[in-house]
């Protein structure tokens, strides 16, 4: 009995150009990422010089916006590892962002009287964040689902409060200011507030490298293990996956990515203070991951970029546009104030209309559209009919039917 599946086998010669391009992109993933990022970079240099983008703000402001968006792209890609790939809900992700930022602040500011080189500190900041990721993960990963979410939420609250209250070490609410900018790098040039071009190019580099590494991780044995854990933790353990270390690794990698973002952000804003890392950041990043399409690295990056642009550029633009129209009630509304309301609405509608996100991963689409797939071709009605059970519904039946082994954590 050979199995028949809803997915048609890739028939070598008759594939469409699009399918062939996709197959090529999957086979040469790193090269594809580099080429695409190069194209996007060039497009982002050219587009702000022509209308309509040139009407909104100057080119250098656009670079500034893009570099800041890059911070959120990094954060979203990192959280995607934890939430999208390994399936662990992390509500305190901003904590790792904060740890990366404060690490850089300690190494490069008048407050600490240190001036260490930027690029090594980028790695150190990420490493420190990774250590905290493991420190949070080790005791909490025995928990599941809601309990893990609450623990991470707590951690996300604790970190900014610690930075707030340890005045002597962190300058409290004022934060650590006057952080030194990175020293000039070859080719990229000088980092300054007036010409954010260097930050923009550096960010593109970091995002490209992060994306390549994360894709490699996802396609590896470990990525497969994350997926297995997300689908069925007990079955994953019964197939030889050390669930504890594998989940810990997801946490560490997520935290590392946030650490990169934190160091970059601190060096760009030249100030770190606790209110940059409140729950709203964790929430925004999670919303970016969900809107972009959990589990799909490109999708999550695009989602973060779009959401950030909406937050920072579109809502402001909407304000000035509405003011120009002079409609009595509308011109009193400051859309930026309502961004979280709009965010929430967007999430609600997204969950109703397209729960897999804007750019879903193949896997998520399959999971969330079981009904569509069942309507597809089922070729062995005899076998299935005899059991009165459709393929794919086996797990729902199984869960109800007894042997539900409560997982034991030791």
């Amino acid at each position: 009995m050979t199995a028949t599946t809803a997915v048609p086998p890739a028939a070598g010669r008759f594939r469409s150009p699009r399918a062939r391009l996709q197959a090529y992109a999957i086979r040469h993933r790193s090269a594809t990422i580099v080429v695409s990022m190069a194209l996007i970079t060039v497009a982002m240099i050219i587009l702000p010089q022509v209308p309509p983008l040139s009407l909104i703000q100057r080119q250098s402001s656009w670079f500034d916006t893009f570099a800041n968006a890059g911070v959120f792209i990094l954060l979203a890609m990192g959280l995607n590892v934890v939430v999208g790939l390994a399936g662990l809900l992390d509500l305190g992700y901003a904590a790792f962002f904060a740890i990366g930022a404060y690490t850089y602040a300690y190494s490069n500011s008048p407050f600490s009287q240190q001036d260490l080189p930027f690029l090594p500190m980028l790695v150190v900041g990420a490493a420190v964040a990774a250590v905290f990721g493991i420190a949070l993960g080790a005791p909490t990963l025995r928990l599941r689902g809601d309990y893990l979410a609450i623990m991470t939420l707590g951690f996300g609250e604790i970190v900014p409060i610690v930075f707030l209250n340890l005045d002597k070490w962190t300058e409290g609410t004022n934060g650590i200011g006057g952080i030194f900018r990175p020293e000039p790098l070859p080719i990229i040039g000088e980092f300054s507030a007036l010409s954010p071009f260097a930050y923009y190019i550096l960010m593109v580099g970091i995002v490209t490298v992060a994306m390549i590494l994360l894709y490699r991780m996802q396609d590896s044995r470990i990525g497969r293990a994350w997926n297995a854990i997300r689908e069925d933790e007990l079955a994953a353990a019964a197939n030889g996956i050390n669930t504890v270390t594998t989940k810990l690794l997801a946490f560490a990698i997520g935290a590392t990515t946030a650490g990169f973002a934190g160091v970059f952000n601190a060096s760009k804003l030249t100030i770190v203070s606790p209110e940059q890392f409140l729950f709203a950041v964790s929430f925004s990043v999670l919303a970016m991951v969900i809107l972009g399409g959990m589990g799909n690295i490109w999708g999550v990056a695009a989602g973060a970029f779009i959401v950030y642009l909406i937050q920072v550029v579109v809502l402001k633009g909407l304000n000035s546009m509405v003011e120009g129209l002079g409609i009595p009630v509308l011109d009193k509304i400051n859309f930026v104030d309502y961004q979280y309301l709009l965010f929430g609405l967007a999430l609600v509608f997204m969950m109703l209309l397209r729960p897999e996100g804007l750019f879903p991963s193949q896997r998520r689409r399959r999971e969330l559209h079981i009904a569509d797939e069942l309507a597809g071709p089922i070729d062995e009605p005899g076998v299935i009919g005899a059991l009165g059970e459709a393929p794919g519904s086996a797990d729902e039946f199984g869960e109800a039917a007894g042997e539900d082994v409560p997982g034991r954590d030791r």
Binding site: P139, M217, A238, I384, L387, A394
Partner: protein, 332 residues
């Protein structure tokens, strides 16, 4: 690990859930290369016993020896483990405190604090990860903790579940590759750098997975999602996933449940082939008496958590106690 004639040996294994004794002092052994069946009415404790062997439950009492090594037993001196975790950071902390009183530079004290936290973290992580070296370290202090399910797989045990537990949204091939997880060695650094070793391993694992799919009769189904396979094929895929870790002992929990006569015959043939071709030892829970009597070398009968009979299929068929357990006591 020495090869003995018995792959697995259970010694007075008991499991209590509150007041319920699910498994009561069972002695049990599986000879190498044999097919042993575990039968009994519903609720006899077969699956509980299975889960104890697979490392999912800790037994309340007794122990299980797998390939000559005690793998599973009730935890011994478990209270000592957290103390061990704290011992090393405690020493570092004590040294730091002593140094701070002796008037050492403040920077050194801060370094000591960092070292304490670092060592604490390191010992915590080793403790949670529980690698083999750590297990050996524990045994030196007389601490014993049962193997976890993944440790059992590494030691050479594969299993399937009573209700199919495939990774539904992964392809059949990926499911089998997950089964190989414990036999692949590419770590996170290999993955990040995409080393030639990792790529070669990935490729060979894919080929091996295709071989295994062919072995269980699923050739060409590798690219389809597990959940889109017909029910019988899902059972076969689960077996392929279980044997992907090259186990010595394969546990099959009701492999023919819900199958028609044709499929059952096919699966029975497959189980026989697995023993012959792969040299597996197989422990089977099964309700279909035709299957049990057809392929088993030995049969063990459980009822109410107790072993009521054991022997060749012929002996079991004639055992009055077994007949009573299944059909009730003869009316007088």
């Amino acid at each position: 690990m020495t090869d003995t004639s018995e792959v697995l040996r259970a010694d007075k294994v008991t499991k209590r859930f509150g007041g319920l004794i699910a498994v009561n002092t069972i002695d049990f052994a599986i000879p190498r290369h044999s097919i042993v069946s575990l039968i009994g009415p519903n609720g006899a404790g077969k699956t509980t016993f299975f889960n104890i062997i697979a490392g999912i439950y800790d037994p309340t009492d007794g122990r299980i020896e797998f390939r000559g090594e005690t793998m599973i037993a009730h935890a011994r001196r478990a209270w000592l483990e957290p103390i061990l975790w704290l011992a090393m950071p405690g020493v570092v902390a004590a040294v730091t405190i002593a140094a701070s009183f002796s008037g050492i530079a403040q920077g050194t004290v801060i370094l000591g604090i960092f070292a304490t936290v670092g060592v604490l973290l390191a010992s915590l992580v080793t403790g949670v990860a529980r690698g083999p070296a750590y297990q050996r370290f524990l045994s030196r202090f007389g601490i014993f903790r049962s193997a976890r399910p993944n440790d059992m797989v590494v030691a050479g045990l594969g299993r399937t579940f009573q209700n199919i537990r495939l990774f539904q949204n992964m392809t059949a091939l990926e499911n089998v590759q997950v089964g190989m997880h414990s036999r692949l060695h590419a770590g996170w650094l290999d993955a990040l750098l995409s080393t030639p070793r990792a790529r070669a391993e990935e490729l060979s694992s894919r080929l091996r997975a295709e071989e295994l799919l062919t072995l269980v009769g699923l050739e060409g189904a590798g690219d389809g999602l597990a959940k889109n396979l017909p029910y019988g094929d899902q059972r076969r895929l689960e077996i392929a996933r279980a044997i992907a870790s090259d186990p010595v002992l394969l546990l099959l929990d009701e492999p023919t449940a819900g199958m028609n006569a044709n499929e059952t015959a096919g699966l029975t043939a497959l189980i026989g082939r697995l023993r012959k071709d792969l040299g597996l030892t197989i422990l089977l829970i099964e309700h279909d008496m035709k299957v049990v009597m057809g392929i088993s070398d030995r049969v063990t009968v459980l009822d109410h958590g107790e072993k009521i009979a054991e022997g060749t299929p012929e002996e079991i068929r004639r055992d009055p106690k077994v007949i009573e357990a299944y059909l009730g006591a003869p009316a007088v």
